[in-house]
Amino acid sequence: MATTKTHRAANFAQAAVYTLIVIAILGVANFLANRYNKSFDATANKKYTLSDQTAKVVKNIQGDLTITYWDRPNGFPNAQDLFDRYKGLSPKVDVQYKDVDKNRTEAIAAGVKNPLPNIFVKVGNKTETAKSLTEEEVTGAMVRALKGGDRTVCFTSGYGEGSTTDTTGGEGLGNAKDLTEKNNYKTQVVPLIPKADIPMDCTILVVAGPKRDYLQPAVDAIKTYVENGGRALIMLDPPLQFKTTIDENPGLVAVLDSWGVKMDKDLVLDLSGVG
């Protein structure tokens, strides 16, 4: 009788040990699978795949990245659709879903404001806010937190440059401005008249097709800005005396020349009548 009992106990112990070993193996396999997840998005337009730029940003983050999503619980599943994809990019990404009603004091302390949701992206010690639940906004907030500030594209104005409020196409810069903002840059119009003063916090200065000659103070301002380490995108139309007049802009051309940049006055003529 005693032998049977001992035999049973031994068998039970053996089964228990086997089970624990299997649990441990499967646990480790799942831990690794969760940490190094690989996704295959079968949707036609890769709807559930984050862009290469986002993947690059997330993978290059050295410290921890915490996304805090403040909303009411009915908004959480929608957010999870997006944030799960961020979590899939790197094990460093931590996402916290916070119910504003349950955690009212914490919400006030965190600076949560209406309208909901509020999305805070924390990289290291720096926290940035994403304005909406979109990849552009969330990744933009990450980039801002990483770069330690806003990136601003400055458009010059005052000499007949394309307008940033004109979205009709042609010479208007409205669509370009919208696209720039969607790519997580801020935009600013820098008037060169009456006083030409280009702020050094402009990440890049855009001179988009001025129609009139820049006066010397404007030319000097651009020269100073670039020679002090600023970056500029200068686009000049060839001088024309047809319908609208486009001046030669000799002052700016001379400055470009001094930097070794030669402006040609070439024209492309489209005779098809379509353009």
Partner: protein
């Protein structure tokens, strides 16, 4: 080879009893209802969107297929206990389990054979829902790839719950007890997600990870995540392993 023979014998016993037909009818009715509701809602929304001047058509995969597949995954929790409850419990009740364990067959062959039979029946049941999807192809233009990924998820989830059901069935001689216990475990593995899904503590993360349905979400969207596939495969292995230990215990407890 022995595995196939056992699977064939099990399958024929499923189809000789009213279980298979009953479960199929139940499934066709419920899924048909979900499909009808999803399509009806989709049409209403499409009409509204057109009236509001939206030029891009609504995505049928997003609005119909994803919802129907998610519903099927929940229906699966209810039908799987009906499939697995008799697998081993019936053999135990009639006493044929002793014949099986003392036969030259290996435990693994018996377990795999029985699980395979249940799995094939599950696939046949799942196949009924494909008829609904064919209607979408006849009248619309759904993308078949996310749909295929969704079905792969359902197959893996089914395999996992069937393995758990097989283990529970091997622990009792009463089919009803096996069915109820399997249903309870399936339900638990479903609702685990409710309490822990959006919590960020490590414990809740682990609890949420154990939930069967949370792993199905990405499949329903048309995204194959390796972690979800590995979770299901692990659960299949674990369920079958436990069934093996349970079978073995019949020998040493005798």
């Amino acid at each position: 080879m022995n595995t196939i023979t056992i699977a064939r014998r099990e399958l024929s016993s499923y189809f000789r009893s009213p279980i298979a037909y009953g479960v199929m009818c139940f499934f066709a009715l419920i899924v048909g209802f979900f499909f009808y509701s999803a399509v009806r809602f989709f049409l209403q929304q499409s009409l509204q969107a057109t009236m509001m001047g939206q030029s891009v058509p609504l995505n049928v995969n997003e609005w119909v297929v994803r919802n129907v597949l998610s519903n099927i995954s929940v229906v699966g929790l209810f039908i799987i206990p009906m499939i697995t409850m008799r697998l081993f419990a019936e053999e135990k009740r009639t006493g044929t389990i002793e014949l099986l364990v003392t036969s030259p067959l290996r435990d693994s062959e018996i377990i795999l054979g029985k699980w395979l039979a249940a799995f094939i029946l599950y696939l046949a049941i799942l196949g009924i829902s494909v008829l609904d999807m064919l209607v979408l192809f006849a009248y619309g233009n759904p993308d078949w790839r996310p749909m295929a990924v969704g079905y792969l998820g359902l197959i893996l989830q089914g395999g996992c719950l069937l393995a758990i059901g097989a283990f529970i069935s091997s622990t009792t001689r009463n089919q009803i007890v096996a069915g109820v216990a399997t249903f309870g475990v399936c339900l638990l593995l479903w609702v685990l997600d409710w309490v822990s899904q959006f919590e960020s503590s490590k414990l809740f993360s682990v609890i949420s990870y154990l939930s069967v349905t949370s792993h199905f979400d990405s499949f329903a969207r048309g995204v194959l995540d390796s972690k979800d596939a590995i979770y299901y495969l692990s659960m299949i292995v674990f369920g079958l392993f436990l069934t093996g230990r349970s079978m073995e215990s019949i020998r040493w407890r005798a």
